[in-house]
């Protein structure tokens, strides 16, 4: 199968992305020295995701790929999201009990 259409990307684009990634790394390192409490992980993962997106879009040429390839990528990410979301549905609620929603006291009062 030889229907590959090689898209020529100018070196300038690569350089811009490269420096964006370096900047992302710097911000990650700086952020690691600050304590944002609960948001530590959100910030770290947010930057990492943004960087990964740039790599997939430009370095892996997803931006210039046929629609079908893009669809496959989107589906894969969606599928990963299922795995994370449903697993977190356990971890995020493991300490809670139904009795928190309906406090036992409320049950007895009436």
């Amino acid at each position: 199968m030889s229907e590959h259409s090689e898209h020529i990307v100018s070196p300038i684009v690569y350089m811009v992305i490269f420096f964006a990634l370096i900047a992302g790394t710097t911000v990650t390192v700086l952020a690691a020295f600050q304590n944002f409490g609960q948001f530590n992980i959100v910030i770290a993962l947010g930057i990492a995701t943004a960087k990964a997106t740039l790599v997939v879009l430009y370095f892996m040429h997803a931006r210039y790929s046929p629609r079908r390839t893009q669809l496959v990528i989107v589906c894969a990410v969606f599928w990963l999201a299922i795995m994370l979301a449903l697993t977190l549905s356990d971890y995020q609620t493991r300490q809670q009990h139904l009795s928190r929603i309906v406090p036992p006291a409320a049950l007895y009062r009436a």
Partner: protein
Amino acid sequence: MSTAPLVPEHELPDTHYLNATYGSGRSIRAWLLTTDHKRIALLYLASVTVFFFIGGIFATMIRIHLLTPGGALVSPETYNKLFTMHGVAMIFFFLIPSIPAILGNFLIPIMIGAKDLAFPKINLLSWYIYLIGGCFVLYSFGTGGLDTGWTFYTPLSSIYSNSAVTPAVIGIFINGFSSILTGLNFIVTIHTMRAPGMTWFRLPLFVWAHYATSLVMILGTPVVAITLLLAGLERMFHLGFFNPSMGGDPILFQHLFWFYSHPAVYIMILPAMGVVSEIIPTFARKPIFGYSFIAASSIAIAVIGFFVWAHHMFVTGESTYAALAFSFLSYLVAIPSAIKVFNWTATLYKGSISWDPPMIYALGFIGLFTIGGLTGLSLACLGLDIHVHDTYFVVAHFHYIMVGGAVMGYVGGLHFWWPKITGRLYPKALSRFAAIVLFIGFNLTFFPQFILGYLGMPRRYHSYPPEFQVLNVLSTAGASILAVGYLLPMLYLFWSMRYGKVAGPNPWPATGLEWKTDSPPPTENFHVTPVVDWEPYDYRNRPDLGLAAGGPLAPAHGDD
């Protein structure tokens, strides 16, 4: 092709894929280096059968051991190894590759009118990867065995077990790539290599089922491969992924393991459903009822199958909310399965049914799969599962689906396409008899296990209270009948390769493209690229099959 319903004497074609002299011809070397999907299918047939035997020997020893309450055969430690190695051999090296890598490999290109799979060399590569993975696992079996259960739960597998866990997880990791490559090959082939006129909605349902299976293989297998590797790394280098004392979480292992292994049960059952969807219309002599629903339900099963995994963890400490969600989602996945069962039944309605051996297996599949699926629903019910979790009820549930369903489909599919694969027929009366022996032996083996489990007999214990002995003896008796039911087909199928009556291109007859070419097919599958201008399963409008249009359709073959 003759229009008479009684098929006259046939002769084998002069050259076909089995005797073709391309490459270095018929030598062992030509087989081991072949890129012909049909020959690779036979390589898989041989190696998968070896693992079926190995797994079968372990199963036999388990059943003999359980004849007496105290355990009749082996030490408790050995018993743990027996059920573990039984599960690993049967699931990863027999059931997962069985239908896709043998029948799928052989049939998908022919069914869509292609000359081979899209990547023939990768196809051969996946067989070698399978063999390498298999060698690692056999090495583990031979040097200390494996006692963690096929589920490899941490921290047992990663810290405490004294058995040969490391080579086993490496073997399963390697073997995973074989699945992934097979799935990839199927998807690309189905997308790009269909013959002219073979539109998506003219694809045989067998192909749809394999498309769905391939999706699961590609998306799921990497997760289990990495997860087992992590457990192996924790074992070898004491990295803390799952070990709480090193900051890990043992339940994370179960999440990741079941994220693959529940969908993996659909890797095992979907191809069998594809087989049944081919057999039922052929021997009911009717177009399949609800073609597009059956096709879509395969995809739905593959997708929803990914949403239900934590129903294996209801009693392992997952949160109540997650358990509620997973219970609900597990009920959802039964809907597409039920759609298939209803459509097969509707296909049978007012059909002209003939009792050929493949049909007996297909009907057996429908009944046994239904029992297995419905008990799955009972297990997905939170309250009930607390009672029967990790009892023989679960064992019976999944054997009804995997043995009664998937293996029935596999053996039935072998019987259906054997004349195509080898060009020869097997003794019909004997094979009907074998199918019935299999059915009886199966039920006698596994039905008592439902009762045992409900009464509270735990699984994976080497001994049991004396009051459970009667049911256990029944189960062992059934297992010996079941063994006869498997040995008989092996013997006469093997015999028929040389001595069976020559089958001709379309012995049943059936409508699929694979029946339009020689039996056995030529290396390039078709002498001329076929053009498809008919609808699938159109048993009403195919005069070329020798079936009368309209009126009562005669079963169109001679007797034994």
